[in-house]
């Protein structure tokens, strides 16, 4: 047995398996129903047991970071939606906070509250996709149907407030795209009332289900020391016992004003992470209720004409407004030279945006710190000596989004 750099014990391929034969190398993917996207795994098997896993990524590399260097600062928001495609507003939030930090502006209170509302709705919709797809991979097909029913409600709300179901580009540097309509607030209110009952439904289906428990308890162990060393964040870290949540530890956008708990589990296995995510869904509903009740009045955008365009009515009367509008939509605003890193908590963990500006109207470099990129490196540690069927459960529990990994 040898240890590799990560301190993980692996066997060298070609070594004898437990029953005397050689290890079998199998290729999974990239076109595979259960790998949550285009992930390719090369697995060395000793019978049914996994001795070594090597993930090969890059099948969804989109050149997002290069694309953003070719777009202006305000155009870049559209592209940020698409790297972690299950939580677009949270990606937008990381980028918007970074640009605002470099520009030195603070958004109004109402915009912060709306940002929190959109982030929590997105967290819910992302966990619903995770629950639905993990469920169907473990054989629980009805969970998929129930989860996507709620997700459709959330997407209807997205559409009401921004016009888009998924890639809203709602949160932009300077504030948000538009104010919440009365219908949005009604839909949100109904949703908050109904959602805890729906989460109870999912728990009824899965939490005490003997098949689900047998397939997830004890599977995919990630001890806390390993999770910290491997750089895992989000439910992967919280499922191993550490109460690290960026919303509490390094708060942003007004999260320090909301009362919620950080979900943790000492189990370190797939079942523990499932419980963590269910609890996170309940806490998200709590935050939504507080945000909706305390939604302050006021503007939703920074009042700076050199940063954000004037409202269209002003264009009819003011020459200065026309000039600002023209400058902003042809050349765009310039961000002062410097660099900044802002991290936000997405459904997967720490999603961060590092931007470098050289003082012009296009970024010099935009780097996305992807939660799934780091979490995927923990896959090998979690799946050693498990069966092939467990590997499916483990990939599901890691909740990787390949768009985030490959960017």
């Amino acid at each position: 047995m040898i240890e590799d750099a990560q301190g993980v014990t692996v066997t060298k391929t070609g070594e004898q398996g437990a029953f005397g034969g050689e290890l079998l190398t199998v290729n999974f993917g990239p076109h595979h129903p259960s790998t949550h996207g285009v992930l390719r795994l090369i697995v060395d098997l000793d019978g049914e047991q996994i001795r070594r896993i090597k993930p090969i990524i890059g099948y969804l590399h989109t050149g997002i970071e290069k694309q953003m260097e070719a777009l202006r600062w305000q155009q870049g928001v559209v592209v940020t939606d698409r790297h972690d495609y299950l939580s677009p507003p949270i990606n937008n939030l990381a980028y918007a906070l970074a640009v605002e930090k470099l520009m030195g502006v603070d958004v109004p209170q109402r915009a912060q509250a709306l940002r929190v509302i959109m982030s929590e709705l997105t967290r819910l919709s992302s966990h619903l996709v995770w629950l639905g797809t993990s469920g169907i991979e473990l054989g629980a097909m009805s969970v998929l149907m129930y989860c996507f029913r709620e997700r459709d409600t959330i997407l209807d709300m997205n559409e009401e407030i921004s016009g888009f179901r998924m890639h809203t580009s709602y949160i932009r540097p300077g504030g948000v795209m538009a104010d919440a309509t009365p219908r949005f607030l009604e839909l949100l209110d109904t949703f908050i009332r109904d959602m805890p009952g729906h989460i109870d439904e999912y728990e009824d289906l899965l939490t005490m289900n003997p098949i689900f428990r047998a397939r997830t308890i004890g599977i995919g162990q990630l001890p806390l020391a390993d999770a910290k060393v491997l750089g895992a964040t989000g439910p992967m870290l919280r499922g191993s016992g550490m109460a690290w949540d960026l919303r509490k530890s390094m708060p942003y956008s007004g999260y320090e004003n909301y009362d919620f708990e950080v979900a943790t589990s000492k189990d370190c296995d797939c079942y523990g992470r499932y419980l963590v995510r269910i609890k996170e869904m309940r806490e998200a509903v709590k935050i939504l209720r507080q945000a909706l009740d305390r939604l302050p009045d006021g503007p939703v955008n920074v009042d700076d004409r050199k940063f954000l365009p004037p409202p269209r009515e002003e264009l009819e009367t003011s020459m200065e407004a026309v000039i600002h509008h023209f400058k902003l939509f042809t050349e765009g605003y310039s961000v002062p030279a410097g660099d900044v890193y802002v991290a936000v908590e997405s459904g997967r963990g720490e999603n961060g945006c590092y931007i470098v500006s050289d003082g012009t109207h296009k970024p010099r470099r935009v780097k996305f710190r992807a939660a799934s990129f780091a979490n995927l490196q923990a896959l090998e540690r979690m799946s050693l000596n498990h069966m092939v069927a467990d590997m499916i459960a483990i990939i599901g529990t890691a909740d990787t989004v390949l768009g985030d990994v490959d960017r």
Partner: protein, 171 residues
Amino acid sequence: MIAEGAGGIPPLLTEIVIDRGVSAGDHWITVPAERIHDALLSLKDEGYRLLVFLSCVDHLADSSRDFPARFEIIYQLRDLDKPADIRVRAFVGGESPRIDSVHDLFPPANWDERETYDLFGIVFTGHPDLSRILMPDDWVGHPLRRDYPVGGEPVEFSEEHEMWQTAPEDA
């Protein structure tokens, strides 16, 4: 946050650090590229045990500030107990830029360094498996360098654009 002279910066580090500052609230230090391993080991002993990310910035034709070399390798470290972040910069340049790998200190650096090699061409000496990770294995060039074109296709507009406004005859 790392405080100057208040026991924040370990002694080994004070003699290595060439420059330090604060950018939009983020603390950063610059170290020589040859001493990067010592610098990160020093910070790790000090408590900054999580490597948040590792990346590179290409400062080709950047007239906003003065840079010692073309490529800036950045390491963002975090101390989970305080909590506090610090950014470490190292500048490399030349025809084939090289810097020591830190995968033995921080395992997350394994894939980050492969990605930086793939997209920028920085060679990390001592890395166990420095191969392309995002681009196909036979790709030529390093896409995120500033002298590499964005690529893609020119967008063509059809001269019969007006005819497309009506629905086509057969779907």
